[in-house]
């Protein structure tokens, strides 16, 4: 089996006159923790939206596990095992933390209207298992004491944890994390980093957009740098740290 996780070719997306994404070729390997960095407006989130199906590309192709997923529906891509989170945390506000997790963990066939009317023993057993599984995940992320709280009552950091919990409940192959550390206090950021590393060491492939460069340097195996929609650098944290293009993109060109 090939080691290709995700591959994009000639991917382009523009909004009005602005070229948000323009990438000739980019490949991601399985079982790797890759970070995508770049200045604000570099096209990182748009890139995530394109590969997760939330936006359609103007041209180009996207392959997940060598299957062409260009312009597929988001839910179909998610069912292939690639789950994303959002820059602005999206939790189900007026549902409890437990319901948030049980919904996310529930299979499509378990959600069926007919089964929900008949309420077979099988569905009840499935729901009980799902509840146990939800508590396992909540315990792993230290939010089990909030199980019956409504998600809207959670703090920003707790919502980030809930979103992450929701993303991993179905054991995805791949996680797309859009700024998992944004707006989180330093202690929680530390915990989240540890969690992300743990998930990566469990074999989950992770793509992460993050502004916290220190954290990115610390945990990434590979870093991809975007600027104005294009790829400007790609390499190990050590290589990126000393890359002239990257320094320019972040700090501006020097005058001499």
């Amino acid at each position: 089996m090939s080691n290709n996780l995700l591959e994009v070719k000639n991917l382009k997306k523009s909004f009005g006159g602005i070229q948000a994404v323009n990438i000739n070729e980019l490949k991601f390997n399985k079982h790797q923790l890759t970070s995508i960095i770049g200045p604000n407006g570099a096209g990182k989130t748009t890139f995530f939206d394109l590969i997760s199906g939330f936006q359609t590309s103007d041209s180009g192709e996207i392959f997940l596990n060598d299957i062409n997923i260009t312009n597929s529906h988001p839910y179909k891509i998610a069912r292939m095992g690639m789950i994303r989170t959002f820059q602005l945390t999206k939790v189900f506000d007026r549902m409890t933390v437990l319901e948030n997790l049980m919904f996310s963990g529930s299979s499509v066939s378990n959600d069926s209207l007919v089964k929900s009317i008949i309420k077979t023993k099988r569905q009840r057993n499935y729901e009980n298992d799902l509840k146990d599984k939800s508590f396992e995940v909540m315990e792993e992320l230290n939010i089990s004491h909030m199980a019956n709280a409504y998600a809207r009552e959670l703090s920003g950091g707790q919502k980030k944890l809930l979103e992450l919990a929701r993303s991993i409940i179905n054991n995805p192959d791949t996680l797309l994390l859009d700024e998992p550390l944004a707006g989180v206090n330093p202690k929680l950021a530390e915990d989240l980093l540890g969690l992300i590393q743990k998930l990566a060491s469990n074999g989950i492939s992770i793509l992460m957009v993050e502004h916290n460069i220190e954290a990115v340097m610390k945990i990434s195996e590979r870093i991809v740098v975007l600027s104005e929609g294009s790829l400007i650098a790609d390499g190990s944290p050590g290589e990126i740290r000393n890359d002239k293009n990257v320094i320019e993109a972040y700090l501006g060109k020097s005058n001499d």
């Binding site: 839910y75 998610a78 999206k90 939790v91 959600d111 209207l113 929900s116 009317i117 309420k119």
Partner: protein, 332 residues
Amino acid sequence: MVFLFNPEGALRILINILTFAGIYGLSAIGLNVHFGWTGLLNFGHASFMGMGAYVTLLLMPHAAGREGEITTTGLPIIVAAFFGIAAAALFGLLLGLPAIRLRGDYLAIVTIAAAEIFRLVVRDLESITGGVYGIISYTENLQKFRPEFINNLSLNYEFAPAQAWVGMIAWISIFLTLLLLKRLNNSPWGRALRAVREDEDAVRAMGKNAVWLKLQSFMLGAGIAGLSGALLAFNYGSLETTVFVPLLTFYVWAIMILGGVGSITGPIFGSIIFWVIISETDRLAYIFFENANGQQLAGVRFLLVGLLIMLLMIFRPSGLLGKKEELLLDVK
């Protein structure tokens, strides 16, 4: 209030209120599946009621049109009602297919327009639907099954037995519908609908087909509305298209808001309060405005409904029975 201002014929009035409250309450329960559970802003609810009513009536023996052309053959009422409900659900699906990808306000605009188109088409298809002349002579299909005890009671107490029978069926329908919805509310399907209501993008990101969930919700709510529409037709005794004007939709919305959006039993209480106001304020207003004419008095009831909704929004925005934590009408 009923007994205070009109001791004679009080039971007749009470049964009238309860029948209307039951029928409109049932419709509001359907709307609640759309808006309360799934967050769909459906402003075309009257058309689902209309579809249910027309299909049910036209499949049974009836008379229609200017000449009162009589159709003597037809299906038994249970079968006709089943098709009426199914037609309303199917109409929900058809309307939903293009419209349901729209968000919030846009869906509201599309549904209110579609409902008006439905009404105008029904009005113009005179050869089938009777057009502006409407449909008559269909109530016997239901009334021939009226239990004897209603007739006996109506001999001793003054009320209309035919309406009491329709009202009874409306409340039985409410009971059965609520049993079904209660079951669904605590089910994985109900949970999925609420997730759609909260955040469609997150639903998609979890690998769930949000559009299909919304369509299912649209069909279920429309089906419930279809049944209530058929009952409304039996309550009126004759049917024509003006029944299904947008005002009907807004009545049902008012009922749902009064009772508590998202609450399963809320619409019933909302409906009873609404109908007490609608049918009793005339008498009350007459005490204060002695010289007012009927039309002016009628205005007072809408004033009261509006005032009540305003007060609710200020002091109890979750409605009478809604949960504060799941407050769905955030007016701020």
